[in-house]
Subunit: 197 residues, 2 copies
Protein backbone atom coordinates (compact mmCIF):
# COMPACT_ATOMS: atom_id res chain seq x y z
CA UNK A 1 0.00 0.00 0.00
CA UNK A 2 1.30 3.45 -0.85
CA UNK A 3 1.22 6.14 1.78
CA UNK A 4 0.67 9.71 0.68
CA UNK A 5 2.99 10.98 3.33
CA UNK A 6 6.67 10.20 3.23
CA UNK A 7 6.82 10.54 7.02
CA UNK A 8 4.75 7.39 7.46
CA UNK A 9 6.13 5.57 4.44
CA UNK A 10 8.54 3.25 6.26
CA UNK A 11 11.58 4.47 4.32
CA UNK A 12 14.86 5.42 5.98
CA UNK A 13 15.20 8.79 7.66
CA UNK A 14 17.61 10.35 5.19
CA UNK A 15 15.15 9.65 2.36
CA UNK A 16 12.23 10.98 4.38
CA UNK A 17 14.16 14.16 5.03
CA UNK A 18 14.73 15.00 1.35
CA UNK A 19 12.66 17.70 -0.31
CA UNK A 20 13.37 20.64 -2.62
CA UNK A 21 13.12 23.98 -0.84
CA UNK A 22 12.99 27.36 -2.54
CA UNK A 23 14.36 29.39 0.33
CA UNK A 24 17.97 29.23 1.50
CA UNK A 25 19.64 30.94 4.45
CA UNK A 26 22.66 33.21 4.06
CA UNK A 27 24.95 30.64 5.65
CA UNK A 28 27.80 29.59 3.39
CA UNK A 29 28.77 26.02 2.62
CA UNK A 30 32.32 25.21 3.71
CA UNK A 31 34.90 23.75 1.37
CA UNK A 32 35.00 20.70 3.64
CA UNK A 33 31.28 20.09 3.18
CA UNK A 34 31.53 20.57 -0.58
CA UNK A 35 34.40 18.12 -0.67
CA UNK A 36 32.30 15.46 1.09
CA UNK A 37 29.31 16.23 -1.14
CA UNK A 38 31.31 15.62 -4.31
CA UNK A 39 33.01 12.62 -2.72
CA UNK A 40 29.53 11.10 -2.34
CA UNK A 41 28.93 11.58 -6.08
CA UNK A 42 32.27 9.97 -6.75
CA UNK A 43 31.25 6.63 -5.27
CA UNK A 44 28.04 6.23 -7.28
CA UNK A 45 27.86 3.25 -9.65
CA UNK A 46 27.93 3.73 -13.42
CA UNK A 47 27.78 1.79 -16.65
CA UNK A 48 31.27 0.32 -17.27
CA UNK A 49 32.33 2.45 -14.30
CA UNK A 50 32.65 5.38 -16.73
CA UNK A 51 31.68 7.98 -14.09
CA UNK A 52 30.21 10.30 -16.74
CA UNK A 53 29.26 12.98 -14.18
CA UNK A 54 30.97 16.39 -14.01
CA UNK A 55 30.23 19.38 -11.83
CA UNK A 56 31.11 23.07 -11.93
CA UNK A 57 30.33 24.91 -8.71
CA UNK A 58 29.87 28.62 -8.18
CA UNK A 59 29.80 30.65 -4.97
CA UNK A 60 27.32 33.50 -4.56
CA UNK A 61 28.96 36.86 -5.10
CA UNK A 62 31.39 35.71 -7.78
CA UNK A 63 31.25 36.94 -11.35
CA UNK A 64 30.86 33.35 -12.58
CA UNK A 65 27.86 32.79 -10.31
CA UNK A 66 26.18 35.80 -11.87
CA UNK A 67 26.91 34.49 -15.35
CA UNK A 68 25.23 31.19 -14.54
CA UNK A 69 22.35 33.01 -12.85
CA UNK A 70 21.78 34.94 -16.08
CA UNK A 71 21.21 31.64 -17.93
CA UNK A 72 18.49 30.52 -15.48
CA UNK A 73 14.94 31.06 -16.69
CA UNK A 74 13.01 33.86 -15.09
CA UNK A 75 10.53 31.64 -13.27
CA UNK A 76 13.33 29.90 -11.37
CA UNK A 77 15.52 32.92 -10.86
CA UNK A 78 13.81 34.58 -7.88
CA UNK A 79 14.44 31.64 -5.58
CA UNK A 80 17.46 29.86 -7.07
CA UNK A 81 19.84 32.79 -6.98
CA UNK A 82 19.52 33.17 -3.24
CA UNK A 83 21.42 29.87 -2.88
CA UNK A 84 25.00 30.21 -1.59
CA UNK A 85 26.21 27.61 -4.07
CA UNK A 86 25.02 26.77 -7.56
CA UNK A 87 26.31 23.68 -9.35
CA UNK A 88 26.10 23.09 -13.07
CA UNK A 89 25.93 19.35 -13.73
CA UNK A 90 27.44 18.11 -16.99
CA UNK A 91 27.19 14.66 -18.55
CA UNK A 92 29.85 13.15 -20.78
CA UNK A 93 27.92 11.91 -23.82
CA UNK A 94 30.27 9.21 -25.07
CA UNK A 95 32.21 6.39 -23.46
CA UNK A 96 35.85 7.12 -22.73
CA UNK A 97 36.61 3.46 -23.43
CA UNK A 98 35.51 3.44 -27.08
CA UNK A 99 34.01 6.82 -28.06
CA UNK A 100 30.54 5.36 -28.62
CA UNK A 101 27.42 7.13 -27.45
CA UNK A 102 26.69 6.47 -23.76
CA UNK A 103 22.94 5.99 -23.38
CA UNK A 104 23.40 5.78 -19.62
CA UNK A 105 25.17 9.12 -19.17
CA UNK A 106 22.06 10.94 -17.89
CA UNK A 107 21.00 7.91 -15.83
CA UNK A 108 24.36 7.69 -14.12
CA UNK A 109 24.56 11.46 -13.61
CA UNK A 110 21.16 11.19 -11.89
CA UNK A 111 22.50 8.52 -9.54
CA UNK A 112 25.54 10.62 -8.67
CA UNK A 113 23.35 13.65 -8.03
CA UNK A 114 21.06 11.67 -5.77
CA UNK A 115 24.07 10.35 -3.89
CA UNK A 116 25.49 13.83 -3.29
CA UNK A 117 22.02 15.06 -2.33
CA UNK A 118 21.92 12.64 0.60
CA UNK A 119 25.43 13.49 1.75
CA UNK A 120 24.46 17.16 1.69
CA UNK A 121 21.24 16.43 3.61
CA UNK A 122 23.19 14.62 6.29
CA UNK A 123 24.87 17.99 6.91
CA UNK A 124 21.52 19.89 6.72
CA UNK A 125 22.32 21.21 3.26
CA UNK A 126 19.33 20.99 0.90
CA UNK A 127 19.21 20.93 -2.88
CA UNK A 128 16.72 22.11 -5.42
CA UNK A 129 17.41 20.86 -8.93
CA UNK A 130 16.30 22.83 -11.93
CA UNK A 131 16.18 22.08 -15.63
CA UNK A 132 14.88 25.53 -16.59
CA UNK A 133 18.06 27.17 -17.83
CA UNK A 134 19.74 27.82 -21.16
CA UNK A 135 22.07 24.84 -21.53
CA UNK A 136 23.49 26.11 -24.83
CA UNK A 137 24.35 29.44 -23.26
CA UNK A 138 26.13 27.76 -20.34
CA UNK A 139 28.10 25.56 -22.76
CA UNK A 140 29.34 28.69 -24.50
CA UNK A 141 30.00 30.82 -21.43
CA UNK A 142 31.89 28.12 -19.58
CA UNK A 143 33.51 26.64 -22.71
CA UNK A 144 32.29 23.13 -22.12
CA UNK A 145 33.74 20.57 -24.52
CA UNK A 146 31.51 19.45 -27.41
CA UNK A 147 31.30 15.93 -26.11
CA UNK A 148 29.66 17.05 -22.86
CA UNK A 149 26.14 18.37 -22.15
CA UNK A 150 24.99 20.58 -19.29
CA UNK A 151 22.05 18.77 -17.67
CA UNK A 152 20.79 20.60 -14.57
CA UNK A 153 21.56 23.38 -12.14
CA UNK A 154 21.61 22.47 -8.45
CA UNK A 155 20.75 25.26 -6.01
CA UNK A 156 22.32 24.28 -2.70
CA UNK A 157 22.22 25.72 0.79
CA UNK A 158 20.93 25.53 4.35
CA UNK A 159 17.18 26.00 4.82
CA UNK A 160 15.93 29.56 4.87
CA UNK A 161 12.66 31.10 5.95
CA UNK A 162 9.96 30.54 3.31
CA UNK A 163 8.27 33.71 4.60
CA UNK A 164 11.20 35.67 3.22
CA UNK A 165 10.25 34.64 -0.33
CA UNK A 166 8.26 36.97 -2.57
CA UNK A 167 4.53 36.30 -2.24
CA UNK A 168 4.32 34.86 -5.73
CA UNK A 169 6.66 32.04 -4.74
CA UNK A 170 5.17 31.05 -1.41
CA UNK A 171 2.30 28.92 -2.69
CA UNK A 172 4.62 26.99 -5.01
CA UNK A 173 6.49 25.56 -2.02
CA UNK A 174 3.76 22.96 -1.82
CA UNK A 175 3.06 22.60 -5.53
CA UNK A 176 3.48 19.38 -7.51
CA UNK A 177 4.71 17.32 -4.61
CA UNK A 178 2.19 14.46 -4.86
CA UNK A 179 3.31 11.01 -5.88
CA UNK A 180 1.72 8.25 -7.94
CA UNK A 181 0.62 5.18 -5.96
CA UNK A 182 2.95 2.19 -6.26
CA UNK A 183 0.27 0.31 -8.21
CA UNK A 184 0.80 2.74 -11.09
CA UNK A 185 4.51 2.17 -11.57
CA UNK A 186 5.41 -1.21 -10.04
CA UNK A 187 4.27 -4.37 -11.81
CA UNK A 188 4.89 -8.08 -11.31
CA UNK A 189 5.92 -10.48 -14.08
CA UNK A 190 4.72 -8.31 -16.94
CA UNK A 191 3.96 -4.74 -17.97
CA UNK A 192 0.89 -3.29 -16.27
CA UNK A 193 0.32 -6.55 -14.40
CA UNK A 194 -0.67 -5.82 -10.80
CA UNK A 195 2.00 -6.12 -8.16
CA UNK A 196 1.50 -8.22 -5.08
CA UNK A 197 2.66 -5.67 -2.53
CA UNK B 1 41.55 15.58 -1.55
CA UNK B 2 40.05 12.38 -2.92
CA UNK B 3 40.53 9.18 -0.99
CA UNK B 4 40.83 5.95 -2.89
CA UNK B 5 38.91 4.11 -0.24
CA UNK B 6 35.30 4.84 0.42
CA UNK B 7 35.71 3.70 4.02
CA UNK B 8 37.87 6.72 4.78
CA UNK B 9 36.08 9.12 2.48
CA UNK B 10 34.02 10.95 5.11
CA UNK B 11 30.70 10.10 3.44
CA UNK B 12 27.70 8.78 5.34
CA UNK B 13 27.57 5.11 6.29
CA UNK B 14 24.77 4.08 3.94
CA UNK B 15 26.78 5.43 0.98
CA UNK B 16 29.95 3.73 2.20
CA UNK B 17 28.08 0.45 2.42
CA UNK B 18 26.96 0.42 -1.21
CA UNK B 19 28.68 -1.82 -3.71
CA UNK B 20 27.58 -4.19 -6.46
CA UNK B 21 28.05 -7.83 -5.51
CA UNK B 22 27.85 -10.76 -7.89
CA UNK B 23 26.92 -13.40 -5.35
CA UNK B 24 23.53 -13.56 -3.64
CA UNK B 25 22.30 -15.90 -0.92
CA UNK B 26 19.22 -18.07 -1.31
CA UNK B 27 17.24 -15.96 1.12
CA UNK B 28 14.10 -14.49 -0.40
CA UNK B 29 13.08 -10.85 -0.21
CA UNK B 30 9.76 -10.35 1.56
CA UNK B 31 6.87 -8.46 0.00
CA UNK B 32 7.16 -5.98 2.87
CA UNK B 33 10.79 -5.22 1.99
CA UNK B 34 9.96 -4.89 -1.70
CA UNK B 35 7.15 -2.50 -0.82
CA UNK B 36 9.54 -0.26 1.13
CA UNK B 37 12.14 -0.49 -1.63
CA UNK B 38 9.69 0.76 -4.26
CA UNK B 39 8.30 3.31 -1.82
CA UNK B 40 11.82 4.77 -1.66
CA UNK B 41 11.82 5.13 -5.45
CA UNK B 42 8.45 6.79 -5.25
CA UNK B 43 9.76 9.75 -3.25
CA UNK B 44 12.62 10.63 -5.60
CA UNK B 45 12.47 14.05 -7.26
CA UNK B 46 11.82 14.40 -10.98
CA UNK B 47 11.51 17.01 -13.71
CA UNK B 48 8.00 18.51 -13.46
CA UNK B 49 7.36 15.77 -10.88
CA UNK B 50 6.63 13.43 -13.79
CA UNK B 51 7.95 10.34 -11.96
CA UNK B 52 8.95 8.67 -15.26
CA UNK B 53 10.23 5.51 -13.50
CA UNK B 54 8.52 2.13 -13.82
CA UNK B 55 9.54 -1.27 -12.49
CA UNK B 56 8.58 -4.86 -13.25
CA UNK B 57 9.82 -7.35 -10.65
CA UNK B 58 10.30 -11.08 -11.01
CA UNK B 59 10.82 -13.74 -8.38
CA UNK B 60 13.28 -16.57 -8.97
CA UNK B 61 11.52 -19.76 -9.97
CA UNK B 62 8.74 -18.09 -11.94
CA UNK B 63 8.31 -18.52 -15.67
CA UNK B 64 8.57 -14.74 -16.13
CA UNK B 65 11.89 -14.64 -14.27
CA UNK B 66 13.25 -17.22 -16.69
CA UNK B 67 12.03 -15.20 -19.66
CA UNK B 68 13.85 -12.11 -18.41
CA UNK B 69 16.92 -14.20 -17.61
CA UNK B 70 16.97 -15.37 -21.24
CA UNK B 71 17.30 -11.75 -22.37
CA UNK B 72 20.39 -11.15 -20.21
CA UNK B 73 23.70 -11.32 -22.03
CA UNK B 74 25.80 -14.37 -21.40
CA UNK B 75 28.57 -12.55 -19.55
CA UNK B 76 26.14 -11.31 -16.92
CA UNK B 77 24.00 -14.42 -16.74
CA UNK B 78 26.12 -16.65 -14.50
CA UNK B 79 25.91 -14.29 -11.53
CA UNK B 80 22.72 -12.30 -12.10
CA UNK B 81 20.34 -15.20 -12.31
CA UNK B 82 21.22 -16.39 -8.84
CA UNK B 83 19.43 -13.29 -7.48
CA UNK B 84 16.10 -13.96 -5.75
CA UNK B 85 14.55 -10.92 -7.40
CA UNK B 86 15.21 -9.31 -10.76
CA UNK B 87 13.72 -5.93 -11.61
CA UNK B 88 13.36 -4.54 -15.11
CA UNK B 89 13.49 -0.74 -14.97
CA UNK B 90 11.51 1.13 -17.61
CA UNK B 91 11.59 4.85 -18.41
CA UNK B 92 8.64 6.77 -19.81
CA UNK B 93 10.10 8.67 -22.77
CA UNK B 94 7.62 11.55 -23.05
CA UNK B 95 6.01 13.92 -20.58
CA UNK B 96 2.50 12.99 -19.47
CA UNK B 97 1.72 16.70 -19.25
CA UNK B 98 2.25 17.52 -22.93
CA UNK B 99 3.52 14.47 -24.84
CA UNK B 100 6.87 16.08 -25.58
CA UNK B 101 10.11 14.13 -25.31
CA UNK B 102 11.42 13.99 -21.74
CA UNK B 103 15.18 14.44 -21.84
CA UNK B 104 15.32 13.82 -18.10
CA UNK B 105 13.58 10.43 -18.11
CA UNK B 106 16.81 8.44 -17.74
CA UNK B 107 18.23 10.97 -15.28
CA UNK B 108 15.18 10.74 -13.06
CA UNK B 109 15.00 6.96 -13.34
CA UNK B 110 18.62 6.91 -12.17
CA UNK B 111 17.72 8.97 -9.11
CA UNK B 112 14.79 6.69 -8.27
CA UNK B 113 17.02 3.62 -8.63
CA UNK B 114 19.66 5.11 -6.38
CA UNK B 115 16.99 5.94 -3.82
CA UNK B 116 15.63 2.39 -3.77
CA UNK B 117 19.19 1.05 -3.65
CA UNK B 118 19.77 2.77 -0.32
CA UNK B 119 16.45 1.63 1.14
CA UNK B 120 17.35 -1.92 0.14
CA UNK B 121 20.84 -1.57 1.66
CA UNK B 122 19.34 -0.42 4.95
CA UNK B 123 17.74 -3.88 5.07
CA UNK B 124 20.98 -5.63 3.95
CA UNK B 125 19.63 -6.18 0.46
CA UNK B 126 22.23 -5.41 -2.23
CA UNK B 127 21.76 -4.53 -5.88
CA UNK B 128 23.82 -5.08 -8.96
CA UNK B 129 22.62 -3.12 -11.97
CA UNK B 130 23.22 -4.37 -15.46
CA UNK B 131 22.78 -2.83 -18.88
CA UNK B 132 23.87 -5.97 -20.75
CA UNK B 133 20.50 -7.36 -21.80
CA UNK B 134 18.33 -7.30 -24.91
CA UNK B 135 16.01 -4.35 -24.27
CA UNK B 136 14.09 -4.88 -27.50
CA UNK B 137 13.41 -8.50 -26.58
CA UNK B 138 12.14 -7.53 -23.13
CA UNK B 139 9.86 -4.89 -24.70
CA UNK B 140 8.33 -7.59 -26.85
CA UNK B 141 8.10 -10.35 -24.25
CA UNK B 142 6.56 -8.14 -21.61
CA UNK B 143 4.49 -6.04 -24.05
CA UNK B 144 5.85 -2.73 -22.90
CA UNK B 145 4.10 0.27 -24.44
CA UNK B 146 5.88 2.04 -27.31
CA UNK B 147 6.35 5.18 -25.34
CA UNK B 148 8.44 3.41 -22.69
CA UNK B 149 12.01 2.03 -22.83
CA UNK B 150 13.55 -0.73 -20.73
CA UNK B 151 16.71 0.74 -19.22
CA UNK B 152 18.41 -1.70 -16.83
CA UNK B 153 17.99 -4.95 -14.97
CA UNK B 154 18.52 -4.86 -11.21
CA UNK B 155 19.69 -8.10 -9.60
CA UNK B 156 18.66 -7.88 -5.96
CA UNK B 157 19.28 -10.05 -2.91
CA UNK B 158 21.10 -10.62 0.35
CA UNK B 159 24.87 -11.11 0.14
CA UNK B 160 26.06 -14.58 -0.78
CA UNK B 161 29.41 -16.24 -0.58
CA UNK B 162 31.70 -15.08 -3.42
CA UNK B 163 33.50 -18.40 -3.12
CA UNK B 164 30.36 -20.08 -4.42
CA UNK B 165 30.76 -18.31 -7.76
CA UNK B 166 32.36 -20.07 -10.73
CA UNK B 167 36.10 -19.43 -10.82
CA UNK B 168 35.80 -17.28 -13.93
CA UNK B 169 33.69 -14.76 -12.01
CA UNK B 170 35.67 -14.49 -8.81
CA UNK B 171 38.33 -12.08 -10.02
CA UNK B 172 35.70 -9.75 -11.46
CA UNK B 173 34.35 -9.03 -7.99
CA UNK B 174 37.10 -6.45 -7.63
CA UNK B 175 37.28 -5.31 -11.24
CA UNK B 176 36.64 -1.76 -12.40
CA UNK B 177 35.90 -0.38 -8.97
CA UNK B 178 38.39 2.52 -9.00
CA UNK B 179 37.17 6.10 -9.05
CA UNK B 180 38.48 9.27 -10.70
CA UNK B 181 39.92 11.84 -8.30
CA UNK B 182 37.62 14.79 -7.57
CA UNK B 183 40.00 17.08 -9.47
CA UNK B 184 39.00 15.32 -12.69
CA UNK B 185 35.26 15.92 -12.47
CA UNK B 186 34.67 18.88 -10.11
CA UNK B 187 35.59 22.36 -11.32
CA UNK B 188 35.13 25.86 -9.92
CA UNK B 189 33.72 28.78 -11.94
CA UNK B 190 34.44 27.31 -15.35
CA UNK B 191 34.96 24.07 -17.22
CA UNK B 192 38.24 22.34 -16.35
CA UNK B 193 39.15 25.12 -13.94
CA UNK B 194 40.65 23.65 -10.78
CA UNK B 195 38.41 23.30 -7.76
CA UNK B 196 39.43 24.70 -4.42
CA UNK B 197 38.66 21.63 -2.33
Amino acid sequence: MSEDNRESSGIIDILKKRWSPRSFSNKNISDESLQRIFEAARWAPSCFNEQPWNFIYFRRGSESYNKLAAAIMDGNKPWSINAPVLVLTVARNSFERNGKSNNYAMHDLGMAVFSLTLQALSEDIYLHQLAGFDAKMTSEIFRIDDNFSPATVLAMGYLGDPEALPDSLKPSEKKRTGRKPISEFVFMNSWKKANNL
